[in-house]
């Protein structure tokens, strides 16, 4: 069996001295999408922050391609091949599109690779990133992750506030990353969209892994998905994991 691109063993993380993630173990295989699901407050973003080094892990190990990285600072993990698409569309607003890409370029893969992934950005290369629409900013953050030459990309809720058509565009780009041999760990509010492109799924509940298995198992069984999210059977008409983006959902175009 090949070495996982990213492997977590018994990872615990605290936020402001409050334990949020408890003994999580998961593997992300190379050239595949692993989906991380869970209700709000389950600890998904904290876990991502812990993997990237933005939150300190209190126990356990994080390995990238078989090498331990949990003691390394954030930038050394990035240099070791880990890219992180944070939740809040974190472009460098005062830099142009091209400059945003140049900032993270480490190897041979230059801005052109990002323009191939998102031709929309090519026309905007001299514009300040702060003036882009929400969808374009998210494309830029994904493109910036690509040009950093990663082996593993963490993606946290990239669809938040975006129109359905843009969300689908971004999901296609994620599968393009996989075709380039990149491993992806994906948090997504629209569970079924993520499960369509993912191969393996983990569901977090109260900071612990409540489900681990193939995406297909959850995709075809919404009751099981609901039970994994909340630990109970789905009440009739009750709240559940978001299914797909509503066609009438408005895109947030706030620059």
């Amino acid at each position: 069996m090949s070495v996982p691109a990213l492997s977590l063993k018994d990872v615990s993380i605290k936020r402001a001295d409050v334990p949020v993630v408890h003994g999580v173990s998961l593997d992300v295989e190379p050239a595949s999408v692993t989906v991380l699901l869970g209700a709000n407050g389950a600890g998904k973003t904290t876990l991502m922050d812990g993997i990237a080094g933005l939150a300190r892990t209190g126990g356990g190990t994080v390995e990238l391609d078989g090498h331990r990285v949990d003691k390394l600072p954030t930038y050394r993990r990035a240099q070791a091949g880990l890219a992180y698409v944070e939740q809040a569309r974190t472009v460098f607003r005062t830099l142009t599109v091209e400059q945003n890409l140049l900032v993270s370029q480490t190897g041979d893969r230059g801005p052109e690779a990002a323009y191939r992934l998102f031709p929309e950005l090519d026309k905007r290369r001299t514009l300040q990133a702060g003036s882009l629409s929400g969808g374009e900013q998210q494309m830029l953050v994904l493109g910036r992750a690509l040009v950093s030459g990663p082996q593993t990309v963490l993606i946290d809720e990239m669809s938040a506030g975006l129109a359905p058509v843009v969300v689908r565009r971004l999901m296609r780009a994620v599968t393009d990353l996989v075709e380039l041999g990149i491993a992806v760990l994906l948090i997504e509010q629209f569970a079924h969209l993520a499960l369509e492109i993912g191969s393996r799924a983990y569901v977090l509940r109260k900071g612990r892994v409540a489900f681990e298995g193939a995406c297909a198992d959850l995709r075809d069984d919404s009751a099981r998905l609901h039970a994994a999210y909340f630990g109970t059977a789905q009440p009739h008409g009750g709240p559940g994991p978001a299914d797909r983006p509503r066609p009438d959902a408005a895109e947030s175009e706030r620059p």
């Binding site: 933005l54 930038y75 990035a78 240099q79 890219a83 974190t90 460098f92 140049l102 900032v103 993270s104």
Partner: protein
Amino acid sequence: MVNSVIAGLTSGGVYALLGLCVVLTYRLVAVVNFTMAAVGAMGAFVMVSLTDAGVSAWLALPVGVAAGAALSAALGAVLVRWFGGHGQNTKAAVSVALYVALMAVGLRLFGSTTTGAHSFPRPFDAPVFSAGSVVVPQSALVSLAFAVLITAGVGLVLHRTRVGLRLQALSEQPSTAQVVGIAAPRLALVVWVVIGAVTTLVILLVAPRLGGDFSTLGKLINTALAVAMLGAFRSLPLTLAGGLVLGCLEGLSAAVEAVQQYQGVVPFLVIVVLLWWRSRHEVWDTAHSR
């Protein structure tokens, strides 16, 4: 009168340089650096102590500049290592505390206003030209040229080089900069080293004219902060212009007998007028609510 304005221009160049260093430290590593002039004064006094002991000025100069750079790096390392995750207010407060400590150590080592005046080398004292009673000293041109060079050079580095782009990214979003692989602590330390070296050179430039005691030189941070405010802690060209305007106004006020004794108030009058002008369209409740 014209002579006073030209003398003011010499100070103006130096003020602009000090203001530029404050603005750069703030923009690139997000610290309002109160220690800057004291660090430069330390480097300058290391140099002058060596020349006093008979060491050649050409050897003492790089040693002094290196000392200023090393001290600045040490202070920067403290701020990066222990206060990296804190807000700007905390960092500014720490830099004030370090400034007080540095001034105390400096006064102890190098003497006070009355006892510690050293004779600094005066390489740029000769006049470039004189027309009638108006004399333009080399120091005026050197400080002006240095200030213009730094403004233009920094602008080029920030916008045209990979390191400059990374510095901008770091100043805008420190945490995301690290996420994309920018070695933030190392880059911040480089900024501190460069600021320390440049400040030492600037203090060496101005020391002969200001009497050459540690206290006066360390307290130049007041004027530097005033100039940085003129540039809104952001714009390099505005900071450059602000330094020159402040220097000229100071020269002018020295020449007019009626306002001579209020010379020290000039920077603060300028700041008050400027702050009022900038905030003329603000609605108090929205602009100043927390």
